[in-house]
Amino acid sequence: MPFVLTPLITHSFTTPITGMIELEDAAAPRIESGIAAVSALRRYEEGHQAADLEMFHAHQNDMGYGLLASRHAPNQDVTAIPPEQIQSVVEQTKPDILPNVFVTFWSFRLMVFLGVFFFVLFAMASYLSLKNQLERNRLFLKICMWAIPLPILATEFGWITAEAGRQPWTVFERLPTFMSASTHSVSYMLFSLAGFTVLYSIFIAVELYLMFKFARLGPEAHGQHDHGADADHLSIVAH
């Protein structure tokens, strides 16, 4: 859809959108320059030679790409790459500069699809409400019931779009994700992940229990003295 994507991405109607192969080719010289920047920095860290500092300053804007290349270097150390192998490391790093397109493509579309669905759902709800048929339309009410978890799914797809789409960077062109992660062991991560899973599984069970309990009580049991109860609450605490 040329008249949707182009203005969304470039804020104009005529700028061409760069393809994946072109992006990879454009990154090659920056990866090479970045390797020089990281190597110079590591040498400077050890020897404090003015020449290394000068070398670093000449290439510092590409340092992020050099850090990205360290994944393909021996022991993740770009200074250990033999000169004749630099080009092959650059070639290996080139595909890394792009996110997983399949995941980003489909998670974005699922999110937008759900957004459009919500729009239609609320348009129908408004229409049925105006016609005073909302409570009698069993099919529509059923759809509404089953649509309860969909907003969560939509936000999850949006989150996946953002997180997968910004890979491989934590800070664009500066800090690769794998370098920004902590150095903690897998067991630490398992501990926190297991803890969150257990805690929030309990929460959702408790929450669903309460939701069903109060839904079964119905709006009448609650609604009639809601305002009065709130006012009481204030006066008690303010004695």
Binding site: L210, A229, A238
Partner: protein
């Protein structure tokens, strides 16, 4: 003096203010949580205790957010390194603090004995554990923490999380923070409750206060024989980078060096002890309102004592002392500190205003009889 140095100092001072606010206000609510099962024997009494802090507890959490936020914005290297080095402990703190609001909201939604008893245990856990971790963190940074940075600024942990938890001095500091929080929680319960809650709170608050004084003094003597850190070489105006430019040595008893150089600093621990004792005396004399303000002095004295001992260190490293995080090498940029200061100068007074206003509006006793009738409150 260089403007950057002044900004670093102002932010270090502001961080102390926020940590004092956290200890005083969040600590008070957590003290009530810890005491809940002991000051309230019946469900109505426990609900009364909850509704005493009910209007304020989430507002007071602002100090917790602000303390974390201030470290994040003003001392980002300290934030990243300390939160990560204490990872397992921080996650435990996080879990218990996630449970707390849920307990507030859910406890009184279902009228069943087991349901409410379970949430009461959650209150105990989520009141005790965060304050214990808060105090223990101070105990750990006073002893120094094992970490170092590599060439890229990536930090590496050199100690196990067990050494941060199963550590006698850290346990002492943790229990000290819990005692202060229980004392302050008890005082707040006294201000807004009637018997029998009032008298039970009085008993727990006075005992907790005495425990706090003893632990504080024991900690002070302990520090004399503990190794402290000395900044041998380092420029306050240095760029905020922990990898270079500092030379630090470890010496036994060095945390008392600042007091030897500036004896006026002894006023801080003195303030702490006097305020804690005065709070206990006022509690026993049934003057909880005045006693509450002694709690402020107790926290100022306690946090102030740690700050005066450690200045200019934030979190010294035992495995590579030269890379210790100090006020000078872990701050944000001058621009960042300036912007944040403008924000803080507007919002910290605002917080003080709305908090006082809320406590003024919600003054007076909470009656158990009214709470039992009102099923919609906590």
């Amino acid at each position: 003096m260089d403007l950057y140095v002044i900004l670093k100092l102002v932010w270090a001072g502001l961080l102390c203010v926020l940590l004092i606010g956290l200890g005083l206000m969040v600590g008070m609510d957590m003290g009530v949580g810890t005491l809940l099962r002991f000051v309230g024997r019946t469900d109505g009494e426990r609900r009364t205790a909850l509704n005493i802090i009910g209007p304020h507890w989430d507002g007071n959490q602002v100090w917790f957010i602000l303390g974390g936020g201030a470290i994040f914005a003003a001392f980002p290297t300290l934030y990243a390194t300390s939160f990560s080095v204490f990872y397992v402990v921080m996650i435990l703190l996080l879990f218990s603090m996630i449970l707390r609001p849920v307990a507030f909201e859910y406890r009184s939604k279902v009228d069943a004995r087991l349901w409410r008893a379970s949430w009461d245990w959650v209150f105990l856990l989520s009141g005790f554990l965060p304050m214990f971790v808060y105090g223990a963190a101070f105990g750990n940074i006073l002893q120094g923490v094992g970490y170092h940075f590599n060439w890229s600024g990536q930090y590496f942990q050199d100690g196990s999380f067990l050494s941060y938890l199963l550590n006698p001095f850290a346990i002492l500091c943790g229990l000290m923070a819990v005692s202060l929080s229980v004392m302050q929680g008890g005082v707040m319960l006294m201000i807004r409750s009637e018997n029998p809650i009032h008298d039970r709170a009085r008993r727990y608050a006075s005992r907790a206060g005495l425990v706090a004084v003893v632990l504080f003094l024991v900690g002070g003597v302990w520090v004399r024989g503990m190794h402290g850190f000395v900044l041998e070489q380092g420029n306050p105006a240095m760029p905020a980078n922990p990898m270079h430019g500092q030379h630090v040595s470890m010496q036994v008893g060095a945390w008392l060096n600042n007091y030897a150089a500036h004896p006026v600093l002894w006023l801080l621990p003195l303030l702490g002890v006097v305020c804690m004792l005065a709070e206990v005396a006022l509690v026993l004399a049934n003057r909880p309102r005045v006693a509450w303000w002694m709690g402020l002095g107790a926290w100022v004295g306690t946090i102030g004592t740690v700050a005066a001992s450690m200045f200019p260190f934030f979190m010294p490293s035992t495995t590579n002392p030269d890379q210790s995080l100090t006020i000078w090498n872990s701050s944000a940029s001058q621009y960042g500190l300036t912007c944040m200061l403008a924000v803080a100068l507007i919002f910290v007074p605002l917080i003080l205003c709305y908090t006082s206003w809320c406590y003024y509006v919600m003054r007076g006793k909470v009656h158990t009889a009214d709470i039992i009738k009102d099923t919609h409150s906590y």
